[in-house]
C-alpha cells in the first residue's frame, strides 16, 4: 500500500437524456432546451465508481469537479453521496459557448491547481458527442492520457489499464502516474448511494470556483477564448432557378393564358441559315423586333 494517498480528480459532465423524445426547433436550429431532461453522463459516473473503489481500498482521495451552471450541483451532490470527499463546481457566465480548446484551457488550470495523481472521466458523452477537452487539457499539462479504459489497477507509481480495442480485442497498458484515464461506459455498475448519504449530501458544502479562483482572464475562456467562431444555423438561400416568366412584350391576355396553361413554356429557338454578309443585318433586325435594342432614331 502506498504511503501517500492518491489524489483522484473525477470530471462530471451533464448530457441530455436521449430516451424521452426531444422537441426540435425549426430545422437547423437544434434541440429545444426548454423542458429538456438532463442527467449526469453515465460514463463519468462509471469513472467515479472506479475512483471510489480505490478510495474504499484506502489508497485514494476523490474530488469531483464539474463545470457548469447551478443545475450541475445535483451531479456533484450525487458524487458526494456516493462517497467523494470533495466537490467543486466551476462557473462563470462567460464560460458559456466555448469550444474544446477553450474548455481544455480551463481544465488545464484546474489540473494545475489541484495537481491530481489521476484524472478520471468518461470516454464519451451519452448524447453522442465526444468531449475532447479533458484529454486536450491532459496533453497541455504533459499528462499521459489513456482512452477507452475498462478497468484499472494502481501499482505504486504506475497504473495498469485494460483498454478496449477494435472488434472486441483488449489491450493492456501501463501508464506512469500522474495521468488521465477516460473510462468506457457499460462495464461497471455505479453504486447506488444509501439514503442516509443522500440526505447528508444535500447539506454538505460545495465549493464554487469562479474565474478569479482559476486566475483566468475572461477572454481566454468561453465563447471569447474559442478557436472556432460559433456560427448561426441557417439554411442557405438557394440561388434562383432560372425560371421562365411571362414575356412582358406579350399583351396581357396572352400573359394570362401563359400563366393559366400550367407552366410557361420558353419560346422556341429559330435557326437562320444566311450567307456571312447578311448575318449582321439580320441579327440587328431580330434584336430590334424582339425589343432588345432601342429603336433607331430617325
Amino acid at each position: 500500500m502506498a504511503e501517500k494517498k492518491l489524489d483522484i480528480l473525477v470530471i462530471l459532465r451533464e448530457c441530455s437524456d436521449p430516451r424521452p423524445p426531444v422537441r426540435l426547433m425549426a430545422k437547423g436550429a437544434g434541440i429545444r432546451d426548454r423542458g429538456l431532461r438532463c442527467l449526469t453522463n453515465p460514463a463519468d459516473l462509471e469513472a467515479l465508481e472506479h475512483a471510489l473503489e480505490l478510495r474504499d481500498a484506502g489508497v485514494a482521495r476523490v474530488t469531483a469537479v464539474a463545470v457548469g451552471p447551478k443545475s450541475l450541483e445535483d451531479s456533484l451532490r450525487l458524487a458526494l453521496a456516493m462517497g467523494a470527499e470533495r466537490a467543486i463546481r466551476v462557473w462563470n457566465g462567460v464560460l458559456a459557448g466555448g469550444d474544446a480548446v477553450a474548455g481544455a484551457h480551463l481544465w488545464q488550470r484546474v489540473y494545475a491547481i489541484l495537481r491530481p495523481d489521476l484524472v478520471l472521466t468518461g470516454n464519451r458523452l451519452l448524447d453522442g458527442g465526444s468531449d475532447p477537452a479533458p484529454a486536450l487539457a491532459a496533453a497541455r499539462q504533459d499528462l499521459g492520457c489513456v482512452s477507452a479504459a475498462l478497468s484499472l489497477l494502481v501499482k505504486d507509481q504506475e497504473v495498469e489499464i485494460l483498454r478496449k480495442g477494435d472488434r472486441g480485442s483488449r489491450q493492456k497498458i501501463v501508464a506512469q502516474l500522474p495521468c488521465a484515464i477516460l473510462c468506457e461506459a457499460g462495464f461497471k455498475e455505479p453504486r447506488y448511494p444509501a439514503l442516509e448519504a443522500v440526505v447528508t449530501a444535500t447539506t454538505q458544502a460545495l465549493e464554487t470556483w469562479g474565474l478569479e479562483d482559476l486566475s483566468l482572464p475572461e477572454w481566454e475562456v468561453g465563447a471569447l477564448g474559442a478557436a472556432l467562431d460559433q456560427g448561426e444555423f441557417a439554411t442557405p438561400r438557394p440561388d434562383p432557378l432560372r425560371s421562365t416568366t411571362p414575356d412582358p412584350s406579350l399583351p396581357a391576355f396572352e400573359r394570362i393564358l401563359a400563366l393559366l396553361s400550367g407552366g410557361i413554356q420558353p419560346r422556341e429557338g429559330k435557326m437562320h441559315f444566311l450567307p456571312p454578309d447578311e448575318v449582321v443585318e439580320s441579327l440587328m433586325e431580330i434584336f430590334q423586333s424582339e425589343g432588345l435594342l432601342p429603336e433607331a432614331k430617325t
Partner: protein, 653 residues
C-alpha cells in the same frame, strides 16, 4: 426531415420565423363593429397552433374613406389596441409570429358604406365598385400618410411582430403606381419616380412611426395583367426602388387587380402554384425575402418552390383555411392526414364576396374555432351503435366525427366507392380536383375506426333487425325525374347520366341550365370536349349565374366560348318534344313573353335541379331510437351544407 427548406428558420427584419409558411392576409368578415373580435383571435390562433411560422392578418383600414367592405377593422382608432393585444397574446403562445396588414383601398371602395367620397389618385372608377372617386389633393395624401403612421403605432402597441402595407391588387398605393389609374400631372403622377412618391411617403411615415427595429414589409402586385397596367418588368423596377429605399424588410406578392379578380383568387380551374413564375421573376431582382402565394396547397410543392429559389416564403391562404394543421402534419411527415384545399372557392371567396363570414366547404370549423376547433371534440358519454347510410360527403363526415368520439360506427354505401355524388360531379370538365374532398376523408374514416360496408343496399327491415341505437340517413339526392314536360321522352338525359358517360349522345346537344353552377357549365364543357356541338338555354341573364362569387365565371365563359358553345339566355323552357335526332325545345322569353322553338337537336341534357332520395328516412321514421336526416336527402344543396350537417350530426350523436 422531408422538408428541409420549408422548416428552416428565416429572418424578416428583426423577427425570426420558425418556418417558411405564412398564413396570408385575406378577408374574414369576423370584425364586430369594425373592431377585432374574439372570432379573429381563435381563427388566427388555430393556424398558429397548426404550426404556421407567420400569420398576416386581414387588411385593416387606415382611414375613414377606406370602406371597401362593411366589416373591416378600423386600425386608426386607438380602441383596437386591447383587441389586438388579445389576438397577439393568443397567437404568440404557439410560437408563431403575427404581422398586421394595413391598407387603404383607394378607388376600390364603396362610399355608400362610409357615406364619404372615395379617394383615389385620379377620378377613375374601379371596374367592380364603379364609383367615381375624388381626385386626392396633396393634403389628402398627407392625411393618409398620417393615418398610416397612426395605425402602425396601434399595430405595434397591439403586440404585433410586424406590419405589412398592402400595395397589391386592391390598394391606393397600387393605384398611384399604375398608369392605369394614375393620370395626375402634379408631382404624384407621370414619371415612375412621381408615381412612386405617394407610396414611398406611406412607407416613410410608417417606418418613422414604428422605429427601425420593427419589421415592415409591403405587398406588391407582381403583374396587373391588364393592357396599359403594370407588368412584371415594371414591377421589378418598382420593387428594386422600394428595396433601395432601405425602409422595408420583406416583399410579399399578389397578382392582378379587380379587372381580373379571378386571377387574385384562382379557382380549381387555375393550375396549382400559378403565380410561381412571377415570384421567381421578382426574386431574381430583389434581395429581400420574397413571398409566393397562389394555390400552393401542398408542402411538397412549397418545398420545391423554396428549393428552386423561386421565393423565400410560401404563402398559404386557402390551404390553411382548409386545414390549419397542414404545417404541423407536414413537419411530422403525416402527409396522408392533410386535408388538401381543392380551390373550389364556394366556402371562402364565395361567401366573402357576398358579405358573409368566411367559411370552407371542407372545414366547418372555420370561424367557429372556439366551439369546433382542435381539441374541442369530446368523447361520447355513452357509446352507441351508429349506422350511417350513404357514403357521400355528409355520411362520411357524420361517420368520421361519430367514430372519433368513440361510437361504434358502421357506414353503408350502395356503390363500389365512397363519395356519393362527388364521384359524378368530379367528372365535369376541369373539376377532377373536386374528388380530393373524398380522398381527404377516406383515410380519416378508417382511422376513426368506422367499419365501411360498400355495395351494401340495406332495406329498412335489415336496419331494424340490426337494432342500431342511431341511424343517420344520408342517402342524397338525384336529378329530378320529371322537371319539364317531355323530360321522359327519348334522347333526354340528366346531368348525372351524362357525366357518368352512360347515354349515347348525338352530335348536336342542347343543355337546359336552370342550375347556373358547375353542374351545368362543367357538363357542357365536357360535352364540347367530346366533340359535340353544344347549345345552352338558360332562364338566367347569362350562363353560369351562380359562378360569380367563386370567381369561376370569367374563365368558364372564356372556355365555353373557345370551345364553340352557344348560349340563349332569358328563356323559361316549358316543353321538350320530338324524336331522337329531331328534338325540339319550346319555351318563352321571361322578359318579353315571346314563345319560341329551338331545334332540331340530337339529344337534350337537363340540368334542372335535384330531388331528395329520402325513402329510407320515411320508412324508418318513428321506428328507431335516434334518427337523423342530413345532407341532400333533406334538401338538395351544395357540398358545403352536406359536410356541415354531417360534421354537426357526428358531433352531437
Amino acid at each position: 426531415m422531408m422538408f428541409e427548406y420549408l422548416f428552416s428558420p428565416i429572418k424578416l427584419g428583426q423577427v425570426e420565423l420558425k418556418n417558411r409558411i405564412s398564413f396570408q392576409p385575406h378577408l374574414t368578415n369576423f370584425a364586430e363593429h369594425c373592431m377585432p373580435s374574439e372570432r379573429h383571435m381563435y381563427y388566427w390562433g388555430e393556424r398558429a397552433k397548426g404550426g404556421a411560422g407567420l400569420i398576416i392578418t386581414e387588411e385593416m383600414s387606415v382611414h375613414p374613406t377606406d370602406t371597401a367592405y362593411e366589416k373591416l377593422v378600423e386600425a386608426f382608432h386607438p380602441e383596437v389596441i386591447p383587441g389586438f393585444r388579445k389576438i397577439t397574446d393568443y397567437v404568440h403562445q404557439y410560437d408563431a409570429k403575427i404581422f398586421c396588414q394595413l391598407n387603404h383601398n383607394g378607388q376600390q371602395c364603396d362610399g355608400s358604406i362610409s357615406r364619404l367620397p372615395v379617394w383615389a389618385p385620379s377620378p377613375m372608377p374601379d371596374v367592380l365598385f364603379r364609383e367615381t372617386p375624388k381626385e386626392m389633393e396633396p393634403e389628402d395624401i398627407e392625411e393618409v400618410c398620417r393615418y398610416f403612421a397612426k395605425s402602425a403605432v396601434h399595430v405595434r402597441e397591439g403586440g404585433f411582430d410586424g406590419v405589412e402595407l398592402q400595395f397589391g391588387h386592391s390598394s391606393l398605393a397600387r393605384q398611384f403606381l399604375s398608369p392605369l389609374t394614375n393620370f395626375r400631372s402634379d408631382e404624384f403622377g407621370g414619371s415612375l419616380e412621381n408615381r412612386m412618391r405617394a407610396p414611398l411617403m406611406f412607407i416613410e411615415a410608417v417606418r418613422k412611426a414604428v422605429g427601425k427595429d420593427f419589421t415592415l414589409g409591403i405587398r406588391l402586385c407582381a403583374d396587373e395583367m391588364i393592357p396599359g397596367g403594370l407588368d412584371l418588368g415594371q414591377i421589378q423596377e418598382i420593387g428594386a426602388r422600394f428595396e433601395a429605399s432601405g425602409l422595408i424588410d420583406f416583399m410579399d406578392l399578389s397578382i392582378a387587380t379587380f379587372y381580373n379578380l379571378y386571377l387574385v383568387e384562382g379557382s380549381m380551374h387555375t393550375p396549382l402554384g400559378y403565380t410561381i413564375p412571377l415570384a421567381a421573376g421578382m426574386r431574381e431582382k430583389i434581395k429581400l425575402p420574397v413571398f409566393c402565394t397562389g394555390r400552393i396547397n401542398d408542402p411538397v410543392m412549397a418545398e420545391k418552390v423554396l428549393a428552386n429559389g423561386q421565393s423565400d416564403m410560401v404563402g398559404m391562404c386557402r390551404a390553411l383555411i382548409c386545414d390549419p394543421f397542414l404545417p404541423k402534419k407536414a413537419f411530422e411527415g403525416r402527409l396522408e392526414d392533410i386535408r388538401y384545399c381543392v380551390g373550389d372557392n364556394q366556402g371562402c371567396i364565395g361567401r366573402m364576396g357576398i358579405n358573409r363570414t368566411l367559411g370552407c366547404i371542407q372545414n366547418p370549423a372555420v370561424g367557429l374555432e372556439k366551439e369546433w376547433g382542435e381539441g374541442t371534440l369530446k368523447p361520447a358519454p355513452v357509446k352507441k351503435k351508429v349506422m350511417v347510410v350513404g357514403g357521400g360527403p355528409a355520411g362520411l363526415w357524420a361517420a368520421k366525427m361519430a367514430g372519433r368520439r368513440g361510437h361504434q360506427v358502421d357506414l353503408h354505401d350502395r356503390n363500389e366507392n365512397l363519395g356519393g355524388q362527388v364521384l359524378t360531379a368530379m367528372k365535369g370538365a376541369g373539376r377532377d380536383e373536386f374528388g380530393v374532398i373524398i380522398r381527404n376523408e377516406k383515410d380519416q374514416v378508417d382511422k376513426a375506426g368506422v367499419r365501411v360496408h360498400l355495395q351494401s343496399r340495406l332495406t329498412p327491415e335489415e336496419i331494424l333487425k340490426a337494432n342500431p341505437d342511431v341511424v343517420v340517413v344520408a342517402t342524397g339526392s338525384q336529378p329530378k325525374s320529371h322537371p319539364v314536360g317531355g323530360a321522359d321522352g327519348p334522347a333526354v338525359f340528366n346531368v348525372w347520366q351524362v357525366l357518368d358517360g352512360k347515354p349515347e349522345l348525338g352530335d348536336k346537344v342542347c343543355l337546359i341550365d336552370y342550375d347556373g353552377h358547375h353542374r351545368a357549365s362543367a357538363t357542357a364543357e365536357r360535352l364540347a370536349d367530346l366533340g359535340k356541338t353544344v347549345h345552352i338555354i338558360t332562364s338566367s341573364l347569362f350562363v353560369g349565374a351562380e359562378l360569380g362569387p367563386t370567381q369561376d365565371l370569367y374563365l368558364t365563359r372564356q372556355r365555353l366560348l373557345q370551345k364553340g358553345v352557344t348560349f340563349t339566355p332569358d328563356i323559361a323552357v316549358m316543353e321538350v318534344g320530338g324524336e331522337a335526332g329531331q328534338k325540339e325545345i319550346k319555351g318563352f322569353n321571361v322578359y318579353s313573353n315571346q314563345w319560341q322553338t329551338w331545334g332540331p337537336f340530337d339529344s337534350i341534357v337537363l340540368a334542372m335541379g335535384q330531388q331528395v332520395d329520402a325513402d329510407l328516412y320515411f320508412a324508418l321514421k318513428g321506428k328507431v331510437k335516434e334518427l337523423y336526416r342530413i345532407g341532400d336527402c333533406v334538401a338538395p344543396r351544395k357540398v358545403d351544407m352536406a359536410i356541415w350537417e354531417g360534421h354537426k350530426t357526428g358531433r352531437s350523436i
